[in-house]
C-alpha cells in the first residue's frame, strides 16, 4: 500500500519541498510570525490591564477577536501563498526539465503521478496550517485567555481554501508554463480579494450592484469567500463592535452554498488536472 505509485510520488513531493528548504523557510517565517504575534498580544494585554482596570469584557472581547482574526488572516494568506509557490512548477517544471520522463516511463499511471503530488502537497500544507493556525489559536488562548469560537470549523474552511488554491495551481501546471501559471494563480487570488472587498463595502452602503460584483468575482475563484466564511464562523458574538476592515468584516456573509461551490470547484480542478496530464504529451 505504502509503496504504490501514489505514495511513492507523495513522499518524493514532500521530500522535495523539505530538501529544497521551501518548507524550512516557511516554517522559520511562521515561527517568527508566531513569536511576534505572541509578544504583541502579550504587551497589549499588559497595557490593557494597566490602563483600564476592571475593563468590561464587552470591550475586551472584540479587541481579542480582532487580534486573533488579524493573525489568522495572515496565516490564511501565508498558507495560500505556500500552496501556490510550492506547487506552481511541480508539473510544468518537471515537463520542462525532462525529469518527468524517467518517472512517467515507469510502470505507473499518469493519475498516480498527479494524485501523488497532490497528496504530498496536501499533507505538507495541512501540517503547516495546523502548526500556524493552531499556534495563533493557542497563543490567543494562553495569553489573552480568549477562545476563538468555532476554531475547528474555521480551520476546516481555511484548509478547503488551501486545497482549492493548490488544485487550481496544479491544474494550471498541466497546461501553462510555470511563470504563466504563477501569475494566473495570484491574479485570480487578487481579483477574488478585491471583489470580496467591494462586496463588503457595497453591503455596508446597501448597494446591491456592488455586492453582485463581489459575488461574481467569488465565483471566478471562491478563495476570498471561503476565508470570509471562515472569519464569520470564528467571529465573536459581539462582532458588530469589531471595526470594519477589508480583511474579515462580515457585513455580507458568503452563504453555505458558496462553501459547497468552493469544494466542488476544488474537486473539479483536480479532476481536470488529472485529465489534462493524462492526455498531455511529455
Amino acid at each position: 500500500m505504502l509503496r504504490t505509485g501514489v505514495f511513492v510520488i507523495a513522499r518524493l513531493t514532500f521530500r522535495e519541498a523539505s530538501r529544497r528548504r521551501i518548507l524550512l523557510a516557511a516554517l522559520a517565517l511562521g515561527a517568527v510570525f508566531l513569536l511576534i504575534y505572541g509578544l504583541g498580544i502579550h504587551f497589549i494585554r499588559q497595557d490593557m490591564a494597566k490602563q483600564r482596570q476592571g475593563l468590561q469584557r464587552v470591550v475586551a472581547v472584540p479587541i481579542h477577536s480582532f487580534l486573533a482574526l488579524s493573525a489568522l488572516y495572515v496565516v490564511n494568506f501565508l498558507t495560500l501563498a505556500l500552496a501556490v509557490l510550492t506547487s506552481v512548477d511541480t508539473v510544468s517544471g518537471e515537463i520542462d526539465s525532462g525529469t518527468i520522463h524517467t518517472l512517467a516511463a515507469k510502470p505507473i499511471r499518469r493519475w498516480e503521478i498527479v494524485l501523488g503530488k497532490w497528496l504530498g502537497f496536501v499533507s505538507m500544507l495541512t501540517l503547516y496550517l495546523l502548526l500556524m493556525a493552531g499556534g495563533v489559536v493557542g497563543l490567543t488562548r494562553l495569553i489573552l485567555d480568549y477562545a476563538v469560537p468555532n476554531a475547528l470549523r474555521g480551520l476546516a474552511l481555511m484548509w478547503i481554501n488551501e486545497i482549492l488554491l493548490l488544485n487550481v495551481t496544479l491544474l494550471g501546471g498541466t497546461r501553462l508554463s510555470t511563470l504563466a501559471n504563477g501569475v494566473l494563480a495570484f491574479a485570480a487570488y487578487g481579483i477574488a480579494f478585491v471583489g470580496g472587498w467591494i462586496e463588503q463595502i457595497g453591503a455596508f452602503l446597501g448597494n446591491q450592484t456592488t455586492v453582485m460584483i463581489g459575488i461574481l468575482s467569488s465565483l471566478l475563484l471562491p478563495s476570498e469567500a471561503l476565508w470570509k466564511r471562515a472569519a464569520y464562523e470564528m467571529r465573536t458574538a459581539l462582532a458588530d463592535a469589531v471595526p470594519p476592515n477589508p480583511f474579515f468584516s462580515s457585513v455580507s456573509v458568503p452563504s453555505q452554498a458558496m462553501v459547497v461551490y468552493g469544494v466542488c470547484y476544488a474537486l473539479i480542478a483536480l479532476v481536470l488536472a488529472v485529465y489534462n496530464f493524462n492526455r498531455r504529451d511529455l
Partner: protein, 367 residues
C-alpha cells in the same frame, strides 16, 4: 512436443511445479510476443509536419536494434510513443505484448532519456531507491540491486553525493543504472553517448554487450555510427518520420567495403614505376585514392583482399597494413542525410563521418 512435456510432467512429480511453470511460460503471450511492434504509428503536433509519419517495425526479443537518423528525424518521438510518454495520432503498437500506453507493458522496460535530467536534490542512492520503488521492486531486492548497479556504473564512491554535483558523464551513469534496476527485458537508450567522453561511450558499449549476452532487447537511438556499428544486430534508418531502410549489420558488412592499405615503394623504385603499380589496383576497385602513405580502395568483396596483398608483394611494394573498413553504414547514413537536406555533403559532414570511422576502428582494435 508440448504433449510430451506434459506427460513427462506427470511422471516426474518432483519436478512438476517447475515443469508446469515452463509450460505456462511457453504459452504466455507476454513471453512470445516480440519486444516492440509498431504498425503505421503517426504523430502530428499542431499544424506542423508530422514528427513521425508512418512507422512500422518489429524488434524481436534479444535483438540489439539501432535506430538511426539525423537530428529531428523523429527518433525520440518514436521512443516516447513506445513508452507511452506521447500518444500517437494514428496507428498502434505493442510493447512486450501490451498495447502502448499500458503501464503493465513497462514493468520490464528500462529507459535512459536523451538529456539525463533527474531530480538533482536526491543523492545517487536515494535516486535509485526511488526508481526501484516506482518499479515496485521489493526493498529486499533493491538493497542488493542498488549497490550492485552503483558498482557496475562506477559510482560506488559517489553513492551519497547529490545529483546536482554530478558531471554529465556521471549523470549518464546513474541514468543507466536507473534503467537497469528491474532487470529489464527491453532497454531504450536515447542518444546515450551524445556529448560524452570516450569513457562514457565505452561504458555504454560494455553495458549493451552485457545486455545482449543476457538476451535483453536493446533499442538504441543514435546518430553516432561507431557505437551502432559496434553494438547493433540490425539497424533502421528513419528520415522525416519514416523508415527508409532496414538491414542487418552482417549484410551491410558483406557488401562493398573500403580498404586502407598502408604501403610504400622500396627506396630504389622509380616514381613512375610506383604509379603503374598503384594504377594496377584498379582491377579490384573503381576508385583508387592515395592518401598520404595509404591507398584507399573500394572493393566488392572481402575475398579480394588476399589477391590484392599478393599483387602488391609480387610487384615489390612494402606492405605494412591492409585494413578493411566497414563504412557501408556510414555511406548509407550520409545518403540519408544528404537526401534529407538536399545539399551536397558539407565538409563538416565528411569530417564528422571520418572521425566517427576512426573511432570505430580504434574501438575495434581494442576489442
Amino acid at each position: 512436443m508440448s504433449d510430451q512435456r506434459v506427460s513427462q510432467t506427470e511422471k516426474n512429480n518432483g519436478e512438476e511445479s517447475s515443469q508446469r511453470s515452463r509450460v505456462t511460460a511457453i504459452i504466455d503471450p507476454m513471453c512470445t510476443a516480440p519486444a516492440i511492434e509498431a504498425s503505421h504509428l503517426r504523430k502530428e503536433y499542431d499544424d506542423t509536419k508530422p514528427a513521425v509519419a508512418d512507422l512500422t517495425l518489429t524488434v524481436e526479443r534479444g535483438e540489439v536494434f539501432g535506430f538511426l537518423g539525423p537530428n529531428g528525424a523523429g527518433k525520440t518521438t518514436a521512443v516516447k510513443m513506445f513508452l507511452g510518454l506521447i500518444t500517437s495520432t494514428a496507428g498502434n503498437g505493442r510493447l512486450l505484448g501490451k498495447p502502448l500506453g499500458d503501464p503493465r507493458g513497462r514493468e520490464k522496460v528500462g529507459f535512459l532519456p536523451e538529456h539525463f535530467r533527474f531530480h538533482h536534490w536526491l543523492t545517487a542512492r536515494e535516486f535509485l531507491y526511488l526508481h526501484a520503488d516506482l518499479y515496485r521492486i521489493p526493498r529486499t531486492v533493491a538493497r542488493r540491486r542498488v549497490p550492485e548497479l552503483l558498482n557496475v556504473v562506477g559510482l560506488a564512491n559517489h553513492a551519497n553525493k547529490k545529483l546536482q554535483a554530478f558531471s554529465k558523464g556521471m549523470s549518464q551513469r546513474i541514468g543507466l543504472a536507473q534503467a537497469l534496476l528491474n532487470e529489464p527485458e527491453v532497454v531504450f537508450l536515447d542518444e546515450p553517448t551524445s556529448g560524452l567522453d570516450p569513457m562514457g561511450r565505452r561504458l555504454v558499449r560494455d553495458i549493451i554487450r552485457d545486455l545482449r549476452e543476457r538476451g535483453t532487447t536493446v533499442f538504441l537511438n543514435s546518430h553516432l555510427l561507431s557505437e551502432v556499428e559496434i553494438t547493433c544486430d540490425r539497424v533502421a534508418f528513419i528520415k522525416k518520420g519514416e523508415i527508409v531502410h532496414t538491414s542487418s549489420l552482417e549484410s551491410l558488412i558483406e557488401g562493398e567495403l573500403d580498404v586502407r592499405i598502408r604501403t610504400r615503394p622500396p627506396a630504389n623504385m622509380l616514381p613512375s614505376r610506383w604509379e603503374v603499380i598503384v594504377a594496377g589496383l584498379k582491377r579490384w576497385s573503381r576508385h583508387v585514392r592515395v592518401d598520404g602513405r595509404s591507398i584507399l580502395l573500394t572493393v566488392t568483396s572481402e575475398a579480394d583482399l588476399p589477391a590484392i596483398n599478393r599483387y602488391l608483394v609480387e610487384q615489390g611494394a612494402e606492405v605494412y597494413a591492409l585494413s578493411p573498413q566497414t563504412v557501408s553504414l556510414e555511406n548509407l547514413f550520409i545518403q540519408v542525410v544528404e537526401t534529407e537536406t538536399d545539399v551536397p555533403s558539407s565538409p563538416e559532414h565528411c569530417r564528422l563521418a571520418v572521425s566517427d570511422r576512426i573511432e570505430a576502428e580504434s574501438a575495434k582494435e581494442k576489442r
